[in-house]
């Protein structure tokens, strides 16, 4: 939020969130590294470096799968929104776990040689012309770069500096990274394994991720915000009877721009649906203590002028609106962020108070 940047912002729920996630990750690594060697009845012992690399690698894969489930789950059922709240911290943890996996590999398979180990990683296997024996390491390298870029740009400074739009586009790399990780595992360890337990876990996780995203996309197609169809300056958004005190109705003005019309104390105001912070859907939030509150991270705005209360300085565009009969119309040309617009009374019968 505006006011001076600090390295990491904390609050009670973030502590709880991180506690659950860290406990899960530590439990995973601890059990994998220290407990499972005694559970195996193997004749030989797997090298520590390889065992640890597998622990961290499989953990990073699981973490990434969980992270990728959060978005579509929150779309399908907003009880999952609290998981979205601090997803970035979990993402940064994932990047660190993945880096640890990579360093175990690099300092084991590519060490002990007079060659530079990073160069060795690139030149040792160059069988790019075949699937079996393909240098699957490159998929891991690509995914790792993506994860590091995402983690490194996770501070709120980057959202403001790059704009949420560019930041989001960069963070879409997570999907490329995941597909790449699937290829990394598929053409790597999956080729060798004779026991198929991990193979099954891996395939299930990847299929769940893909399925949830398809479900969320279909949900968006079916139940997504309606497109305001009219071509003139004033476009119809909804009926007055649709409005509910403290909540909003959303309409798409263009493919990229959405407006949220709020009913607050019996009056209508229209602001951009995209939060200034991360472009969260303001219209899916609600008014708390006279302020529109974003469902993602709780950024707040005065509904009449789209400005955050002092000392915060975030602003979103506002829209002029009018009521004709039972229809609410909005001027498709947004006002500059922070512009005051006189709320329009909703004195129509049938509106829910």
């Amino acid at each position: 939020m505006s006011v001076k940047y600090i390295p990491v912002q904390w609050n009670n729920n973030k502590w709880k969130y991180n506690a659950v996630m860290l406990a899960s990750v530590f439990a995973y690594l601890w059990i994998f590294i220290f407990v499972t060697p005694d559970l195996m009845s193997n004749e030989g012992r797997i090298n520590g470096a390889v065992h640890n690399a597998r622990a961290f690698g499989s953990c990073a894969f699981l973490m990434l799968s969980v992270i990728l489930c959060i978005g579509p789950l929150a779309r399908l059922d907003n009880r999952f929104l609290p998981l979205l709240y601090n997803r970035r911290h979990f993402g940064v943890m994932t990047a660190f776990v993945a880096i640890t996996h990579a360093s175990y590999i690099i300092n084991w398979y590519f060490a002990f040689s007079p060659s530079n180990k990073y160069e060795a990683l690139l030149f040792s296997n160059t069988s790019y012309g075949q699937l079996s024996g393909f240098p699957f390491e490159v998929f891991g390298i690509f995914a790792l770069f993506c994860l590091v870029i995402l983690a490194a740009t996770s501070h709120d400074f980057w959202l403001k500096f790059l704009t949420p739009r560019i930041w989001k586009r960069i963070h879409y790399l997570i999907y490329a990274a995941y597909i790449s990780v699937v290829a990394h595992v598929g053409l790597g360890i999956l080729q060798d394994q004779q026991n198929h337990t991990f193979t099954v876990i891996f395939i299930l996780a990847a299929i769940v991720v893909a399925t949830l995203h398809v479900m969320a996309a279909l949900h968006e197609k079916k139940h997504g915000d309606p497109l305001a169809a009219e071509s003139g300056d004033w476009v119809k958004v909804c009926e007055t009877t649709d409005m509910q005190e403290g909540y909003a109705k959303i309409a798409q003005l263009t493919a990229k721009e959405r407006v949220a019309i709020f009913l607050h104390e019996g009056k209508l105001s229209a602001i951009s649906n995209a939060c200034a912070h991360q472009n969260g859907p303001l219209g899916e939030g609600k008014i708390i203590r006279c302020l529109v509150t974003c469902p993602w991270h709780g950024f707040q705005y005065d509904v009449t002028n789209g400005s955050s209360p002092a000392p915060f300085t975030e602003k979103v565009p506002t829209y002029n609106l009018k009521v004709e009969g039972n229809t609410i119309l909005v001027d498709r040309h947004a006002n500059e962020p922070g512009t005051y617009v006189e709320p329009v009374p909703l004195n129509i019968q049938g509106a829910a108070a």
Binding site: S2, K4, Y5, I6, P7, S115, N116, Y118, E119, L121, L122, F123, L131, S132, F145, V148, I149, A151, A152, T153, H155, F157, W158, F161, L162, T163, P164, R165, I166, I170, Y172, Y175, I179, V182, A183, G186, L187, L190, Q191, A206, I207, V209, A210, T211, H213, V214, A216, A217, E220, K256, E257, N273, A274, A276, T313, V316, P317, A334, E336, P337
Partner: protein, 125 residues
């Protein structure tokens, strides 16, 4: 090997340029383009890794903000429709990659007995 060396060298150069840009951006640039950064210093260390990696983007945004070319409407137009294509990509690539991976898996020829083809042939070269 030469290619690997070249790639690694290029990466080092890339990051070195990034380090130089980080130096200027974090000491001079950031105060000019973001008032929230004024007087805040510790968080700047967290920005270094990203600048090393995506410095061309940093330079471009720095230029846009310095020259006040930033168009405010763009800050409120998220690329939400892209998710549809993401879902399609995941739904296509993930099953295909898994199927391909499973199909190229080999089975150890446990039952194959070595066959002697001839008695003589000793290669002379």
């Amino acid at each position: 090997m030469d290619q690997a060396q070249a790639i690694f060298f290029a990466f080092q150069i890339w990051c070195s340029i990034g380090a130089l840009i980080a130096l200027f951006f974090l000491t001079i640039g950031i105060d000019r383009i973001d008032e929230d950064a004024q007087g805040a210093y510790v968080f700047r260390l967290l920005l270094i890794p990203a600048i090393l990696l995506i410095w061309p983007l940093v330079l471009w945004r720095w230029f846009i903000l310095e020259t006040e070319r930033d168009a405010w409407p763009n800050r409120h137009r998220p690329p939400r429709h892209a998710h549809f294509w993401v879902a399609i990509a995941l739904a296509v690539f993930i099953p295909v990659i898994i199927l391909v991976s499973l199909s190229v898996r080999q089975t150890w020829p446990v039952d194959f007995e070595p066959q002697k083809l001839s008695l003589l042939e000793e290669r002379k070269s």
